[in-house]
């Protein structure tokens, strides 16, 4: 067991290093950074000056070590805005956190409900309707759905504010500003999760342990609650862990920016518009780390819960 955990952590560590190297190479080593920062009409001398100022004239591995040192000691400054990127991320983090957890709870709850209903009524009208709905759900891009909500429920009917984020110090406003983003983000996941749960439950219904439970004289509902559903929840929970990891790292870029929530995702979107490579680098590395860590945790938890996995 210990060997498995150590192996998994070492693997995660190497993936993280690879992530930093690849992200750096992609963003810092392509194109002529100094020339771009100097502007269109800069002279050759100005470009050299800027390159020297930011250390862009050094060999690439020196730049890599320096950039990573800056990022991990909290001294990464954006080239274009001259602001501390980590401060910025910290400032935007409450919005990201509120969005991710609120949506996470909604989509987990509703997808368990819909997935179970679809499995119980498999092949009948309820299942058909839920299937079509979930197909529609996964086909709506969040920025389009968000725009529809904002226009009709916000602008036309005036029921909700037109985007923006209000801190938790005013809970009612916080809630009102987040309802639409939560729904928008959840719809994407509900469709997918309820499909996964439905097929896992249906797979499990043919298992021996379910037949045994029926043979013991349990009712259908009892078998579902005590046996089938519990086992079918395992893949759902691990998916949830991974998706939350992405969202906590700021991956809800589209939802974040269409609702102007000023979270980490929107920070990334703005950074793209300004071609602010350091900010993009920090957010990409942060998110990738969150994903790598959570997938390692999920794997280890699996191995703890189910000894068969360790042998594989």
């Amino acid at each position: 067991m210990i060997r498995f955990i150590v192996r998994r952590i070492v693997a995660a560590f190497f993936v993280m290093i690879a992530v930093t190297i690849i992200t750096f190479l992609l963003l810092a080593a392509t194109g002529n950074q100094a020339a771009r920062l100097a502007g269109k009409n800069a002279t050759q001398q100005q470009i050299h000056q800027i390159a020297a100022q930011y250390g862009l004239d050094k060999p690439i591995y020196v730049q890599y070590v320096k950039t990573m040192k800056n990022i991990f000691t909290g001294k990464a400054y954006s080239y274009t805005q001259n602001i501390n990127v980590l401060q910025e991320v910290k400032h935007d983090y409450p919005a990201t956190l509120s969005l991710a957890f609120g949506a996470g709870i909604i989509w987990l709850g509703l997808s368990v409900l819909f997935g179970t209903l679809a499995a119980v009524y498999a092949g009948r009208t309820t299942d058909r309707v839920l299937t079509i709905l979930s197909m529609a759900g996964v086909s709506f891009p969040p920025f389009f759905l968000g725009a529809i909500f904002l226009y009709f429920l916000g602008y036309k009917l005036g029921w909700f504010p037109l985007g923006g984020y209000v801190g938790l110090s005013d809970p009612w406003q916080w809630f009102k500003h987040l309802v639409l983003p939560w729904i928008t983000l959840s719809i994407l996941f509900i469709g997918f999760y309820s499909r996964v749960l439905r097929s896992t439950i249906l797979d499990n219904t043919n298992e021996d342990y379910v037949r045994t439970a029926h043979a013991k004289g349990l009712t259908d509902g009892q078998v579902l609650r005590r046996h089938t559903l519990r086992n079918s929840m395992i893949p759902i929970i691990s998916l949830w862990g991974l998706d939350m990891g992405q969202l906590l790292g700021g991956a809800a870029i589209l939802t974040d920016s269409v609702f102007n929530l000023q979270g980490v995702g929107q920070l990334a979107a703005t950074a793209i518009a300004n071609l602010d490579v350091i900010t993009i680098m920090v957010i990409v590395i942060l998110t990738a780390f969150a994903v790598v860590l959570l997938s390692a945790i999920v794997d280890i938890l699996y191995a703890v819960l189910d000894p068969r996995i360790r042998l594989a």
């Binding site: 392509t30 529609a136 996964v138 891009p141 725009a147 870029i253 589209l254 920016s257």
Partner: protein, 344 residues
């Protein structure tokens, strides 16, 4: 253009080719593809949405015809400030004095209205659809080819090949799809890598194609790992087939159903991701239209003309949804444990 066609229809082509309509008394050993096609044929909903998608592809491919012969304009042609259009006998400005464009006229010119630059929305919708579908199709081909190739290699040779390929897939996997897409898209848009540059229309296809590789590579590799232990591979080796021959002649046909199941799924996600990237400015670069850029442009003055958001948005949703539902039907048809049926 041809590419956009293939991804959506290759499955039905491949299958209908082997289907023999007057063979009523089929021998007991019916091929798996024939069985799958029979199941798919019974699934009217999936067929209907497959048809819708093909229809969309055809309509978008006809964009130049519509632009040239019906709307008499081109996708990037901006109407001047004083331009007017005649609607139902009344002359109206295309973009009025406070910058609000004309809404849908339901006539040949400005059928879906104009955008704030006075460009014909319907024309841009078709050209944008062509770009979106083309990028989606090329991205799907890139993903499927690379993922299958490397997945088979990793699963067949194991050892070092497997270690290197799986680690690479893990690294790509570690990036959330949209973030990796943005990073690559930004790289292409700023400096470019080698000859590939952001202004190159298919650059987003390469980005999207790379992002989805691990999602197909992992299942392909897992399946090859299982298959290579089976007797028919031993038999092939005893007959003196080389590794390459075993991979292409023995393994590839056996994983083809997995590949077919993944194709619509990747296509739908590729179209969605391209739209997301273009919405954020890291995909198709203006003035070229795509459904994603059109939604972003339509949102600029939010209250001005919401139809400019709704029209490309719903086209996008219909395209993605029809691929998804058709793909679901294909999966049900190819899945030996076809799940819906156990309830009856």
């Amino acid at each position: 253009m041809a590419a956009a066609d293939t991804a959506g229809t290759s499955f039905s082509d491949a299958v209908s080719g082997s289907y023999d309509s007057d063979a009523q008394d089929l021998p007991p050993g019916v091929g798996p593809w024939k069985l799958a096609w029979r199941r798919l044929r019974r699934n009217k909903v999936a067929l209907f949405f497959g048809f819708i998608f093909v229809l969309l592809v055809v309509v978008c491919l006809l964009a130049p015809v519509y632009a040239h012969d019906i709307a008499h304009t081109s996708p990037n042609a901006e109407a001047g400030l004083t331009a007017t259009v005649k609607v139902g006998g009344k002359v109206k400005p295309v973009v009025n004095s406070i910058g609000i464009p004309i809404g849908p006229t339901w006539h040949a010119k400005y059928f879906f209205g104009a955008d704030i630059n006075g460009r014909d929305t319907a024309v841009r919708l078709l050209y944008g659809g062509r770009n979106s579908l083309e990028i989606g199709a090329v991205a799907t081909i890139i993903t499927m080819v690379l993922a299958t190739f490397f997945g088979v290699l990793a699963g067949f040779y194991r050892g070092w090949w497997d270690a290197v390929i799986t680690r690479f897939a893990d690294v790509i996997w570690a990036y959330p799809a949209v973030l990796l897409g943005i990073t690559l898209g930004t790289v292409f848009a700023t400096g470019g890598i080698g000859p590939i540059h952001g202004t190159f229309l298919l650059a987003p296809a390469i980005v999207v194609g790379i992002v989805y590789i691990p999602y197909v590579l992992k299942p392909v590799r897992a399946q090859v790992l299982q298959l290579r232990e089976r007797e028919f591979i031993d038999a092939a080796r005893q007959q003196g087939l080389s590794s390459t021959q075993i991979m292409f002649r023995e393994l590839l046909p056996n994983i083809s159903s997995t590949i077919v199941v993944f194709m619509p799924l990747i296509l739908a996600n590729a179209i969605l991701l391209e739209a997301g990237l273009s919405y954020l400015g890291a995909g198709v670069q203006p003035p070229n239209p795509s459904w994603g850029t059109m939604i972003a442009e339509g949102l600029q003055p939010l209250p001005a003309a919401f139809s400019n958001v709704l029209v490309p948005g719903f086209m996008l949703v219909i395209a993605v949804m029809s691929v998804n539902i058709f793909g679901d039907g294909v999966r049900d048809a190819l899945d030996p444990r076809a799940k819906v049926r156990i309830a009856r």
